[in-house]
Amino acid sequence: MSLQEFEKTFQDKVDQDIRIEPKDWMPDAYRKTLIRQISQHAHSEIVGMLPESNWITRAPTLKRKAILLAKVQDEAGHGLYLYSAAETMGTSRDELIGQLHSGKAKYSSIFNYPTLTWADMGAIGWLVDGAAIMNQVPLCRASYGPYARAMVRICKEESFHQRQGFEILLVLSRGSQAQRRMCQDAIDRWWWPSVMMFGPNDDASPHTAQSMQWKIKRFTNDELRQRFVDVCAEQVKILGMTLPDRDLVWNEEKKHYDFGPIDWEEFREVINGNGPCNKERLAARVKAHEEGAWVREAALAHAEKRK
């Protein structure tokens, strides 16, 4: 078969929603794009453990501590599902981790913001995990089998993350004056970074068309963002709080909420490594990896000895 025939067979399968599996023929660009997309997501799960682990030892009750531990453990698991999915495309775990540590690979910009108060655990669960779910649910139907299967597992587990976050805020919103203030402050700080999680506007997102044709992206950034804003604008009412956007208003004609302009300059700064915590996050990952080297070596030596 010629290259064109291979490509046609491949695209026909994708069009018919037949999943692509690791040993099937696929275009190089598809493989490359997916390795980047899946590993970025894996890195986000792993780096995403850091802002929350900051509060494990200071959770207000034993119940909250147990929940937060379980959530952070889930994120480690999600990272592993995704690294494994990426590895089926012929890359190695070391290579992927190396790219994260060298700064070559990106992860979600949201994790470069600090977690200043306990209410941030609530806002992260509600908004950050909420935005992630919005992004991830359609990917359960992604064209690459191992990726889609990993996303199914992740989405099943992610729902608890969002609900526990909203519950944290709900409790604070019904608490003292100081607790209510803390709740609103967390929402104010996490709202816009969460809105940015969907990535650049569609007209500034050149790869969207190709990714949609390959079905490794099922909705555009702006479609998903709009859906997220619509949902949150209603949910925030239950908290008796507000979203920090004066332009947020229901548009009866469009049947959607209109919202204010996004500060893309801030988005670019954070992506390019100049967010409040970029250096700290990467340093923590590299330190954990380096200080764990002797454990990895010892485990191998032990396995060798027992053979």
């Binding site: 599996e21 040993k23 099937d24 023929w25 379980a70 453990q73 889930d74 698991g77 592993l80 599902y81 494994s84 590895e87 089926t88 190695s92 775990r93 070391d94 190396g98 299967r149 990993a150 597992r153 587990e157 080297a293 990895r296 070596e297 485990a299 191998l300 032990h302 396995a303 027992r306």
Partner: protein
């Protein structure tokens, strides 16, 4: 990279008594015992399993997807292997 990677293992999980072990995913571990323990932590955090099998990925041999159509061809034209192939009178009961 001087550091040696832990081998890759494929994980199979029996979700409940009476069902087959089913492929759940893969992970890295230094040996089989660690693979089983890691599989418990990665794949059964919500009681998804009661039994785990692990096998090093390099021991798995697979059919070639490029040859799938010819490889599975022998079964292609044998509709008479299915019970619905046989046209029998409606009066015939319990069959």
């Amino acid at each position: 990279m001087s550091e040696q990677q832990w081998p890759l293992w494929e994980i199979f999980i029996r979700s409940k008594q009476g069902l087959d072990h089913k492929h759940a995913g893969s992970l890295h571990a230094a040996d089989a015992q660690m693979a089983i323990e890691n599989a418990r932590d990665v794949y059964t955090r919500r009681m998804e399993g009661i039994s785990i099998w692990v096998v090093e990925s390099r021991h798995i041999h697979a059919s070639n997807p490029d040859e799938a159509s010819s490889f599975f061809d022998p079964a292609n034209d044998k509709v008479y292997r299915h019970p619905t192939f046989y046209d029998l009178p409606d009066e015939l009961k319990y069959m």
